[in-house]
Point group: C2
Chain length 418, copies 2
């Protein structure tokens, strides 16, 4: 593959069965967008849909739209559209709140479930990776501290250490399927099986998996999952997240964020809380309908393809990127951070470089948008829905020129954003 | 006032110094919208702003808009715009999450603060009204149950019972300033003072107060407050809510929803949670930016007036409505539920009627939109920003005709919405 030239890439695009899906998005011309793992691109239908929701559903329908425009049921209806992408069934997933909030619900429910099962000798260990996206660790810390019953986090440093860490002291294993920094993908089925063999429950964070790689929560026999709709699902900036609960856990699904949308009869305005028996139990309060409605624009595009086809293209794009970088940019100190092995790779490629931040800034100035994460890691996300093989070639060429010409300010430091 | 006719009302509109503010909203023609206490009307700028955020900030700016479009700071910037309407200072309030979630944070923080102060003999009573909006009670139940340290709710049945209930066993008083069903407004300053005299802290829910009545959290020496932006603030369906923390409580402000947006350095991606020292500590995860951006359209309209002027018109509208209903609809069994006394009245009027649900349905069919709450209560919200005196007259005339002609289906029952 290292011998491919730009024309070969154009030819790959010509033969790409998914090529037309790019037309479903509004991508600024001249831009190569390799940051869909952070914020997905705008579906072409989003602007029109936003107009409908604001001018018609809100402006004309006003309060009536909670029924007539289906706002109240939207978290479930969109959850059902998302479900096939993550191996979930209808009525098992809702779009709601943020990933952090949903993680709190799922983790609380898992802890509660374990405390109930292990009433005499309850386990107090929550296993996760130190390299997990920080909010996951912070939420686990927050929940553990507040429960004030001796819950402790057991942090492992590399995926290899997980197997040893998941022993019979563990109550809950909380893992992110694809690591946000390295793009390393964990073995969902294998780790879930290991956890279950140790009577632990597993919460999966699918922030970098949903819409990016095939996920089958049902086949993996997973317990709970949460994730994000604004990355590979292209739902819009900060769009509401999702939460899935395995049907077998719904009868005992309890979390402390027991707002009225999780009530069995929310409009009966009853003074006593009574949990909804279905997945609505994972809701809390009123949801932001304009942002939520736009999630559908992203989800609808997936109906034109399937995750197996997207995975094939994703791996072809990331293979091509790795191969071109390693041949065209050889000798410039770039180190591949993402696993070379397909089974362990998400839909992003990370390279480290001593001046990673400066190089990424130079790339962005040239219209090749990736992002940067300490220490020294340049992240490149590959969304097969809208990326072309020629984009990969052009991005690597831009990177090669910046490195060849040292066309970056080696003194520039990551800004402290507070 | 009972002798006013429609022309008098038109004259009142002619002389209304706030009359032109109606032009800032897009109100469907022929509709009399008396449900702004549930979902506020659409500001005229909202559709354009939605286009900007979706097509330009998201579509063109993509990931860069977190900085260039100011997305990351929006919860604080909009909080600062809201602050003057609730007697808060800059940097004291953020727009974020839902009211239910924010209530959980505030209540958790209040409970934590009390547990720290009363380490040797901690108080475990949370006082609220049984007639509070249910989500408030459910959230308090959820938090109490989960803390598992003997926290109990003490529910009072009427506002008159509050004084006796706030004794020196009480840790936290959680009150809604204006009751969603009755429109009864509590004495914020007096009850806060009473709570403090008993060493209790107070969480105020301003869902039906912010933008509806003058609120001065600072003057009342309040501790925590939460509220809603989609009612009288006209922020859009399910728009993100707000949370305020008195500056004196910020140093010890702790809640378990410790997501990355509440971290001192969210982009440093540090493995250890470190709470932000400012009001960002009240945030949790990534916010829905399209919905959030529209909150500004509603807030900006308030800059053209002030809450004292809005209160004068609000009371004039609700006085007129009560007076007209009681004269024009006399003998039809309508009972005023909302306090007659201005000091105890929010910006809504509730009347009960044996066939309240059926009558409200008939009204809505005629384009007069209020809503219904069990048992038998018809709610009419009065938003002085866009309502005219003639709207009040026309609404009461419609009500009178329906009652005079029994033009409603007395058999129809409130639908069970699940």
């Amino acid at each position: 593959m290292g011998t491919l030239n730009r024309d070969d890439c154009l030819q790959l695009d010509q033969n790409d069965p998914l090529a037309t899906l790019r037309n479903e998005f509004s991508i600024p011309s001249g831009l190569i967008y390799l940051d869909g793992n952070s914020l997905g691109a705008q579906p072409r239908t989003a602007a029109t849909r936003a107009q409908e929701v604001v001018a018609q559903e809100w402006g004309e329908g006003l309060i009536r739209s909670w029924n007539t425009a289906g706002w109240f049921d939207l978290p479930l209806r969109l959850g059902d559209k998302l479900a096939p992408l993550i191996g979930a069934g209808a009525g098992e997933v809702v779009i709601s709140d943020s990933t952090s909030i949903n993680l709190f619900k799922a983790l609380a429910a898992a802890v509660h479930s374990q405390a109930t099962r292990q009433a005499t000798s309850p386990r107090r260990i929550i296993v996760t990776e130190a390299s997990n996206f920080p909010t996951d660790v912070y939420i686990a810390q927050g929940l553990s501290t507040w429960l004030d019953r001796g819950y402790q986090l057991r942090l492992v440093n590399t995926p290899d250490e997980l197997a040893a860490a998941i022993d019979d002291d563990v109550a809950v294993v909380m893992l992110t399927h694809v690591n946000y920094r390295t793009g390393h993908m964990l073995d969902m089925a294998g780790l879930t099986e290991l956890a279950h063999a140790n009577q632990a429950l597993v919460v999966w964070d699918l922030a970098h998996s949903a819409g990016a790689v095939p996920v089958d929560l049902t086949a993996a026999n997973a317990d709970y999952a949460v994730g994000c709709t604004y990355k590979y699902l292209n739902g819009g900036p900060g769009a509401p997240a999702f939460i899935w609960v395995a049907p077998r856990h719904l009868p005992a699904f309890r979390h402390p964020l027991s707002g009225w949308w999780s009530h069995a009869q929310p409009f009966a305005m009853l003074p006593e809380y009574q949990r909804h028996s279905g997945i609505r139990a994972a809701l809390c309060g009123t949801q932001p309908m304009v942002s939520m409605a736009l999630v559908e624009c992203g989800l609808d595009i997936f109906a034109q393809t399937d995750m197996a086809a997207l995975r094939r293209k994703s791996l072809a794009l990331t293979d091509l990127f790795i191969s071109l970088v390693e041949t065209m940019c050889v000798g410039h100190g770039l180190q591949l951070v993402t696993p070379r092995c397909h089974e362990q790779r998400g839909s992003q490629v990370s390279f480290s470089h001593p001046h990673g931040y400066a190089v990424m800034r130079a790339l962005i100035e040239q219209g090749v948008i990736g992002d940067y994460r300490d220490p020294g890691i340049m992240r490149f996300g590959f969304t097969p829905l809208y990326l072309r093989y020629v984009d990969v070639w052009d991005a690597v060429l831009a990177l090669k020129r910046i490195l060849d010409e040292s066309a970056y300010d080696a003194q520039v430091q990551p800004e402290a954003v507070t």
